[in-house]
């Protein structure tokens, strides 16, 4: 009986300590003397790995999500003969929810898992500890450029995702289903609000980028230095960042649109 209680307490303390470690890791990586000149090549390299390599999946899935949204919306709106407001439906759905969330989930799956696996393997092959031996802070050298790359890339990818999605919606609505292109675009422009929709979309996207990148980096940094540990860390990165993105989305939506 006492053993069970002790085990519960132990796991609670471990759970809290995990948060502490994650916070300390981020603090150690980001706070310090800025070294833009030295770190710039590292940043560019991480932008390539995190941003450019996620571009394909973001563009393709954005196109198809926009097209399927327009198609389903068209079928429903024609029953009310309101297909002229299809553009508004596609644009608002993408800007408010689908864009930030789906881009965040894809980012967590594509870039987050890669970051975790990379850092986990560095830890398993003791590259991190050998860096420390050479008096190079691995937090500043490895974690910080990856964090900033993730932080800036996800909002960029979200913007690309939404733009491609709306163009895909226009492709289906205007070119295939024959909605007048003036109706389509004017219903978008009349109903999308700069502050309420576009800026909130980017606030959401930055929140998701912090959460997803942080979880990915910490899981890699904290992984057990074995092959099983790395696979476990990669899985938990995808699971936790997806859950956190969906949860954060609900909280942010209820704050923004109430």
């Amino acid at each position: 009986m006492l053993n069970i209680l002790a085990r519960i307490g132990q796991s609670g303390i471990n759970f809290i300590a995990l948060f502490g470690q994650a916070g300390i890791m981020l603090f150690g990586a980001l706070v310090g003397k800025p070294e833009f000149k030295k770190q710039f090549p590292l940043w560019v390299k991480q932008f390539y790995f995190v941003g450019v390599q996620s571009l394909t999946i973001i563009v393709v899935s954005g196109l198809f999500i926009g097209m399927v949204l327009a198609l389903q919306g068209y079928f429903i709106l024609t029953t009310f003969s309101a297909e002229a407001s299809l553009g508004m439906l596609v644009a608002l759905a993408l800007l408010r929810e689908l864009g930030p969330v789906v881009a965040g989930l894809l980012f967590a799956g594509r870039a987050g898992s890669a970051l975790t696996a990379e850092i986990g393997l560095m830890k398993a092959t003791e590259q991190l500890s050998s860096m420390e031996m050479m008096a190079v802070d691995p937090l500043r050298r490895i974690i910080a450029p990856r964090f900033w790359a993730g932080f800036f890339c996800l909002p960029f990818l979200t913007a690309i995702f939404i733009a491609v999605g709306i163009l895909g919606g226009a492709l289906v609505g205007v070119d295939w289903k024959g909605i007048d292109s003036g109706f389509f675009w004017s219903s978008i422009q009349n109903n999308v609000d700069w502050w309420h929709d576009t800026v909130n979309c980017f606030i959401k996207s930055f929140a998701f980028s912090i959460a997803a990148t942080w979880i990915a980096l910490f899981n890699g940094y904290n992984s057990l230095p074995t092959s099983e540990g790395i696979s476990k860390a990669t899985t938990s990165t995808v699971v936790y960042s997806s859950l956190v993105i969906l949860g954060l989305d609900f909280i942010l939506t209820s704050l923004m649109f109430s």
């Binding site: 090549p41 560019v44 390299k45 932008f47 390539y48 941003g51 450019v52 571009l55 644009a91 800007l95 960029f156 990818l157 913007a159 690309i160 939404i162 733009a163 491609v164 709306i166 675009w185 978008i188 422009q189 009349n190 999308v192 609000d193 700069w194 929709d197 576009t198």
Partner: protein, 183 residues
């Protein structure tokens, strides 16, 4: 390798900036973003129905401004409106009414223009200046009413929103009376 990476990252950044610009200029109506100068007028209604903040204000179907917010003042709906500064020649005896666009559309304020510089005795507006609210209205009664809408002007010449339940109720009530008279 490094050169190729730089080119790819630059390409990525350009696409990202293009799509942000697309979202700003093609998707969001830029005119709502660039703050045109507006002036603020107020209106007191009996009932605002389904009017909301950011509902449009129209003259003859053309949007000339938006509602900033709606509060209660002396237990009457008090609507704050921002009107585009280009439209500064709206006669002060114009009347406001709340209309619905289409059968199920959203509600907006329609301004029906009055006649500029008509004889002031005929004006429906009793106390024109906002600063008259706290004082006895009779003191301000002789104060000059501006000819046109201007900053801080309070409009009293309003008609309430039509509430469809009330209309149906009135109709049923009056038709019931007619039957009683016949009998």
């Amino acid at each position: 390798m490094s050169r190729k990476i730089e080119i790819m990252v630059g390409f990525f950044m350009i696409i990202a900036i293009c799509s942000i610009l697309f979202l700003c200029f093609r998707v969001t109506d830029v005119s709502t973003f660039s703050q045109n100068s507006t002036y603020r007028v107020y209106a007191i209604f009996d009932n605002v129905g389904g009017l909301k903040a950011r509902s449009p204000i129209k003259i003859g179907g053309v949007v000339i401004g938006r509602i900033a917010n709606i509060t209660l003042k002396n237990y009457k709906p008090y609507v704050t409106m921002d009107i585009d500064a280009n439209y500064d020649r709206i006669p002060s005896n114009s009347s406001l009414s709340i209309k619905t666009s289409g059968l199920l559309g959203e509600q907006f304020i329609a301004i029906s223009l009055g006649i500029a510089k008509s004889s002031e005795n005929e004006l429906d507006i009793e106390d024109a200046q906002d600063r008259g609210i706290n004082e006895d209205p009779s003191v301000n009664f002789e104060e000059k009413i501006p000819d046109y809408f201007e900053e801080g002007f309070v409009i009293h010449n309003t008609s309430p929103a039509m509430v469809i339940e009330d209309l149906i109720g009135q109709f049923l009530f009056s038709s019931g009376n007619a039957k009683d008279k016949k009998a």
